[in-house]
Every structure is written in structure tokens, then in C-alpha cells.
């Protein structure tokens, strides 16, 4: 209990908003077949990969941007975006070792608190650092290799393990899935790849740190994690971007595959630049994340703390195909100023004795708008399916908004599905009570918010939980009063 102590960092600024002045190697603006061929060629991809990208592009051309989410934004001009931006290296490809990485980049990650020198690295966390469109460094790779674990950039996986990529890519999120997933499938530049072989428990947390630096560029990373039979892995994802007046698009895809008896835990602390207090700039975060419990007894757990981005649009989901599989989704989404979040989860119960849990905590402050949107679907064959969903919203200003849009569809009478939601104002009585015990208003707010989010924060690995609490405190700076 006492170890989750509050160390509020009151800091008016988005501290991750600096720009690294590094020579970039951008492609021309806009998107057509040629750009996609060039991305694929630059990365030295096999033919199957380029064909897949082109099919995705052709499909994307037939789609329209979805409008059902409760978010509003100016039109995105897809032909004004740079679809590929990489820090220039002497050799033109990924550095072989840290010694070859541009010192400017290493300094950037130091400044972000993500040391890439292994001797200084966080004990027990292997990091893959993605800067704009490419992975710049992966730590502890050798150590993991001795266990047969593949942890590398996606580009590298395409070259080194094409058979795994070919087998699993698009098997959970096909390139036809939705507008943003199709776009990502066509143009994705890099991302992380994890394969944990049969029976192996990955001994350390695997982590990717995403950084958007270039202006006017989109980031389209792709993450694919496969836990083979009986394997387990815990994966962390963190994100930041510089402060810029124009908005930037981030359309990622994450696919998780858990085979029989496997276990994947995926944690996100999302802190993309949220825009300024008047809603200028900020990242448009349109992300498709989905995991499939493909074998019996598999277990996938999503935990997310979303404090950044001008717009968050993501629904980390679980397809519970195997019998006795378990899907979990724990989320905190905070919107302040003019941020908008439309987030939630889908739990698709297919196998027998499948269980799912959804815990969603939305905090709305300033003019922020926060929506939970979720689907719990129990198919006719899903005997004894169980779901419990809890969605709570905390309202902190008269101009904010909080919505709950759950869909529950049950076709099996042995299922038991329970959904609860509540919305309430941060209590003036609670604030007064805490202040009368000597806490400042900000400390009181943080204490209440952390209490409100506790069920979710406790799911995060410890370092991340502390970081998440700080982020919540910073993001709520000045939200009450």
C-alpha cells in the first residue's frame, strides 16, 4: 500500500516536448504505390511483404475515415503527410551497435529517461527504441537470444524471420480491418517484434519506446507479439512527441497471439503531446490493438494509462477463441484542456469457459471529452462465458463531458455478463475533508484520482505505475479550482 506513494511533480509544461535537431531522411509528401514500393525497398523487404502492403493500399483506397466515434477534428490531409522519416545514418541502415548510433539520439533518449546504454539501463527491462519511422536501438538482445526469444525491430524481423512474420502478420488484425489499420498495413515503417518460444518465460520486461520527432510526419508502427505454447511475456510501451502547433497522425497496429497455455501482458503509458491549453496541435492517436487467445488456457491482459494525445481512438480487444481463455482490459484515460478520448475494449467470447474483465476509468477535466465504447459479445458456442465490466467516470469541470457506450450481445444462456457504470463529480465534500486534514487542493485531487484509478494502476509493473501516477498529476495540473 504505502509503496504507491504520491510524489506529485507539478510542472506546467509538457516536459517531453523538445525537438531533436537531427538530419532526417524523409520521403516526399503524400502516398501512392511508388512511395509504398520505396518504403519496402528501403527496408530490403521480401516480395511477399511488398505485395501485402500494396494490397492493403488498394483496399484503403476503397475506405472512408470512420465517423462513429465521439471525437471531432479538422480533416486529415493524407497527401500532406510524410509517410517515412528516418534519422540519417552513415551506413544508411540500422546501426549494428550502440557505438554506431548518432550521439544526438542517445542524448534524446537519456533526456526522456530511457537510457540505451545497457550498463545504465533499467535492470530487468529490455528496450527497443523507435524514433520516427525506424527502430534505433534494441538493448539486451543477446541475452534474450540465448533463451530463443526474438526481440527486435519489425524491419529486422521481416529480414531475419520472414517465416514467422508471414505466418502471423495480419492474422489478428487483417489489412481490411478498418481505415487506419489498412493505412498502417500499407505504410508501416517499423515497430517491435517479439517471439517467445514454447515453454519459455521471458525473464525481463520487454519495452518499446516510441518517439515522434520529425514535423509533419506520421508514425505508423506495427507491433507483433507471439507467445508460443506455454510461453509468457510482459511488454511495456511508452510514447512521447515534441510540442508542435500542427497535429500529427499516429496510426499504429498491435497484434498479440497467445497460443495454448501462453500468457501476454501488454502495458501502455501513452503520453503523446496532447496539444496546448487551447487545443492547438497534439497527436491524433488512431490505434488498432487486438489480441487473440488462439489456444486453450491462453491469457491476454491489456493495461493502458492514456494521458496524452489530442485525440485517442483505440479499443484494445481480445478474441477468446480457445477454451478456458482469459481476456482483461484495464484502462485509465484522462482528458484535460481540449483533449478527446474514445476508448474501450471488445471481448469476443468464442471458446468454452472463457472469462473477461473490463475496468475502465475515465477522468474528464477542462473541456476534455472522454468516452468508453465497448463490446462484450458471447457467441452461441461459448458455454459458461463470464464477463464483468466496470466503467467509472470522474468529472472535474462544468465544461467537460463523459460518455459510456457499452454494447452487450449474448447468445448463450449459460453466460453471465455484468456491466456497471457510474459517473460522478469529484466530490467537494471529499476535497474539503482532505484539505481539513492539511492536504493542499492539488494533493487532495491527486489522492482522490489515484484512489479512483487504483484498480488499474496496480496492474502496471512497478516502475510504470509510479510514472503513470506522476503523469496523472502533471496532466491534471490546474484542473480544479
Amino acid at each position: 500500500m504505502g509503496n504507491l506513494d504520491l510524489q506529485p511533480h507539478f510542472d506546467n509544461e509538457y516536459r517531453w516536448g523538445f525537438v531533436t535537431d537531427i538530419e532526417q531522411e524523409p520521403f516526399p509528401q503524400g502516398l501512392d504505390g511508388a512511395v509504398i514500393r520505396r518504403i519496402s525497398a528501403t527496408k530490403g523487404e521480401p516480395a511477399f511483404m511488398m505485395e501485402w502492403r500494396l494490397r492493403a493500399y488498394q483496399h484503403w483506397l476503397t475506405l472512408r475515415e470512420p465517423t462513429w466515434a465521439t471525437v471531432q477534428h479538422p480533416p486529415i490531409h493524407y497527401q500532406d503527410i510524410y509517410y517515412y522519416a528516418a534519422p540519417k545514418t552513415a551506413s544508411g541502415s540500422k546501426p549494428k551497435s550502440l557505438a554506431e548510433v548518432d550521439p544526438q539520439l542517445l542524448a534524446t533518449y537519456e533526456k526522456l529517461g530511457i537510457p540505451l546504454q545497457e550498463r545504465e539501463a533499467l535492470a530487468g527491462v529490455a528496450v527497443d527504441a523507435v524514433f520516427d519511422s525506424v527502430s534505433v536501438a534494441t538493448t539486451f538482445k543477446d541475452k534474450l537470444e540465448t533463451l530463443g526469444i526474438v526481440f527486435c525491430s519489425f524491419s529486422e524481423a521481416v529480414r531475419e524471420h520472414p517465416e514467422l512474420v508471414r505466418q502471423y502478420l495480419g492474422s489478428v488484425v487483417p489489412y481490411t480491418d478498418n481505415f487506419f489499420a489498412s493505412l498502417n498495413s500499407a505504410v508501416f515503417s517499423d515497430g517491435s517484434f517479439v517471439y517467445v518460444p514454447k515453454g519459455v518465460n521471458c525473464p525481463m520486461e520487454l519495452s518499446t519506446y516510441f518517439r515522434i520527432n520529425a514535423s509533419n510526419s506520421g508514425q505508423f508502427e506495427r507491433t507483433l507479439i507471439i507467445a508460443d505454447e506455454g510461453a509468457s511475456v510482459s511488454y511495456l510501451e511508452g510514447c512521447t512527441a515534441p510540442r508542435r502547433d500542427e497535429s500529427q497522425l499516429h496510426a499504429a497496429v498491435v497484434e498479440l497471439i497467445a497460443l495454448k497455455d501462453a500468457r501476454i501482458k501488454y502495458s501502455t503509458v501513452q503520453n503523446w503531446y496532447p496539444g496546448d491549453a487551447d487545443g492547438r496541435g497534439g497527436i491524433f492517436n488512431f490505434v488498432t490493438k487486438r489480441g487473440e487467445c488462439r489456444g486453450d488456457n491462453a491469457h491476454i491482459s491489456w493495461t493502458q494509462v492514456e494521458t496524452g494525445s489530442a485525440i485517442t481512438w483505440k479499443y484494445p480487444s481480445c478474441i477468446l477463441r480457445g477454451d478456458n481463455t482469459v481476456g482483461e482490459f484495464y484502462s485509465v484515460a484522462l482528458t484535460n484542456h481540449h483533449q478527446q478520448a474514445d476508448t474501450g475494449s471488445k471481448m469476443i467470447h468464442i471458446g468454452r469457459n472463457t472469462r473477461s474483465t473490463i475496468v475502465s476509468k475515465g477522468i474528464s477535466a477542462g473541456h476534455g471529452s472522454n468516452a468508453y465504447r465497448g463490446l462484450v459479445k458471447v457467441l452461441a458456442g461459448a458455454e459458461n462465458a463470464r464477463n464483468h465490466t466496470r466503467c467509472d467516470s470522474l468529472l472535474m469541470s462544468p465544461d467537460c463531458a463523459a460518455h459510456t457506450f457499452p454494447y452487450i450481445e449474448v447468445k448463450n444462456p449459460s453466460a453471465k455478463v455484468e456491466h456497471e457504470a457510474s459517473t460522478s463529480k469529484i466530490g467537494e465534500d471529499q476535497l474539503f475533508y482532505l484539505r481539513s486534514r492539511g492536504l493542499s487542493e492539488e494533493d487532495a485531487v491527486n489522492l482522490i484520482v489515484n484512489g479512483f484509478c487504483k484498480e488499474v494502476l496496480k496492474e502496471l509493473p512497478m516502475e510504470f505505475a509510479v510514472e503513470a501516477q506522476k503523469l496523472l498529476a502533471v496532466s491534471l495540473e490546474g484542473a480544479v479550482g
Binding site: 500500500m1 504505502g2 509503496n3 504507491l4 506513494d5 504520491l6 466530490g427 467537494e428 465534500d429 471529499q430 474539503f432 475533508y433 482532505l434 484539505r435 481539513s436 486534514r437 492539511g438 492536504l439 493542499s440 487542493e441 494533493d443 489522492l447 482522490i448 489515484n450 484512489g451 479512483f452 484509478c453 487504483k454 484498480e455
Partner: protein, 262 residues
């Protein structure tokens, strides 16, 4: 320590307090009694600095400074503690977390070093022992799912940890069984010394059997209508509050209305 002079308070257009005068010196225990709606709780809330109360006249001084401009947390840090009549529930926040955060806020304000988690746990366990309370209290969410008696005991635990100079107990005794009443009395008496002062706001005489007051004041219609020693409380118990009705003005009804809403 505390000087209240001619205090008038208005809530949402209704006069609740109509000229309170009260002087509390270090080491003293004052009991404020009166029927429901007489303004007792309003007085306690005003002293702790709750919003929504308009001071239309009068002054309150605490340790020679003007109390009224201070925020609730500044008052707490200056040593004022209000045990709430209806303690709030704060889901997800462990009791021990609140206690330590509050204590360290006070210590920081006093320029003292903060207490680390281990020292604090030792410190708070002594307090628990003193009050005959269980360790499990510490790790439950603040007041969540507590019985009425547990909530009141929790208020006393907070008081014992924060060691205020001026403690105001707002009907802490109401609804308590005899065992819980003992715990409350023990907590209060352990705080009692030449430097600390205590104001007990209560409807019943019963608590005063365990905490013997130096002075008893009877509040009616937003005014102190009588003051005296302990014997006044016993007299009230025998006669009830009915005889006060003549003294209660129209404001009493207004106060009734307001307090019923609070």
C-alpha cells in the same frame, strides 16, 4: 487560543449564526450543546473553513491571527482539526496513505522532516494500540464500507496522528455504542494537556461523563443562550431542550432547515 467575537453567518440567504461569542484558552475543554438545528454544526464547519458560509459580521482569531481568510489546509497546518459528523468515504485511498500524506503535509508546513513509510508505520501502530484498534484499519480504503462507529473511531485515529492544538469534535458521540464511546473518550483525553484545547459539539450529555468539560455552552437560534460549568449539561439532560424554545427565534427554523440539508 480561539476568540470568536459576534460571529454572524448566513447560508444561502438564511441567518444561521446570530452573534456568537466564545473564548477558548489552551488546556480547556468546551462543550457546545443545543437542539438540532441550533447552528452547532455550522459553527464547527465555519471554524474548519468550509465554503458556502457567508460571514456577515464578527471575527474569529486563532493563536492571535485572523482565522477567516485561511484555507482549510492552512487551518489544518496551523493545528485545527475537525472530526466530521459524517466522515467522507474515499474509494481506493488507503487509510494509511491519507494519514501519512496528511501528517507529512503538516510536518512540511512546520519545517520538520517528513516521516518515511517505516517510521510512520511504527508511529501509527502506537496510536492504534492506544485506541485499542486493529491494524487492518490502516489498509482499508478511507471510511469505505465502515460502520458508523468505525468511521467515528477513524476520525479519532486521525486526530491522534495529527495531534492538533485545537480539536473540534462535531457530534462524534452520536450513534456510538458504549465501547466506541470509550475509544473516543480515550483518544480525546490522551490529547488533553495544558497546550491543547478541545471543543465538543454534542446533542447529548453522555459523552461528558467521560470527557469532563471546563465549560458548557447552550446554543439556540444561532446564539449562545447560556454558559456554565458541567452542571449545566446535567440540567439540560433533565429538562431537555424544550425550555429553550422561547429563546429560539425565527432564525432557529431557518437553521433547522439548512442543517437538515447539510
Amino acid at each position: 487560543m480561539l476568540q470568536i467575537h459576534n460571529l454572524h453567518v448566513n447560508v444561502a440567504g438564511n441567518d444561521i449564526l446570530n452573534g456568537i461569542d466564545l473564548n477558548v484558552r489552551p488546556g480547556e475543554v468546551h462543550a457546545i450543546m443545543g437542539p438540532n438545528g441550533s447552528g452547532k454544526s455550522t459553527l464547527a464547519q465555519v471554524l474548519a473553513g468550509r465554503d458556502g458560509y457567508e460571514i456577515t459580521a464578527g471575527s474569529v482569531h486563532y493563536l492571535d491571527q485572523d482565522l477567516l481568510p485561511l484555507t482549510p489546509e492552512e487551518r489544518a497546518r496551523a493545528g485545527i482539526f475537525l472530526a466530521f459528523q459524517y466522515p467522507l468515504e474515499i474509494p481506493g485511498v488507503a487509510n494509511v496513505q491519507l494519514l501519512r500524506t496528511a501528517l507529512n503535509s503538516l510536518r512540511r508546513a512546520r519545517g520538520e522532516a517528513e516521516m518515511d513509510a517505516i517510521d510512520f508505520l511504527e508511529f501509527v501502530k502506537d496510536k492504534l494500540m492506544l485506541l485499542g484498534m486493529d491494524d487492518s484499519f490502516l489498509f482499508r480504503s478511507v471510511n469505505e464500507g465502515f460502520s458508523g462507529g468505525e468511521k467515528k473511531r477513524n476520525e479519532i485515529l486521525q486526530m491522534a496522528v495529527l495531534e492538533p492544538q485545537l480539536a473540534i469534535l462535531d457530534e462524534t458521540d452520536s450513534g456510538l455504542d458504549i465501547d466506541a464511546l470509550h475509544v473516543v473518550a480515550q483518544g480525546v483525553n490522551s490529547l488533553r494537556n495544558a497546550a491543547h484545547a478541545i471543543i465538543l459539539v454534542t446533542h447529548y450529555q453522555r459523552l461528558l461523563n467521560y470527557i469532563v468539560p471546563d465549560q458548557v455552552h447552550v446554543l439556540a437560534g444561532g446564539r449562545i443562550v447560556r454558559s456554565g460549568g458541567r452542571e449545566l449539561a446535567l440540567e439540560l439532560e433533565q429538562k431537555g431542550y424544550a425550555w429553550l424554545e422561547d429563546k429560539a427565534s425565527q432564525a432557529d427554523n431557518a437553521a433547522d432547515l439548512m442543517e437538515a440539508r447539510l
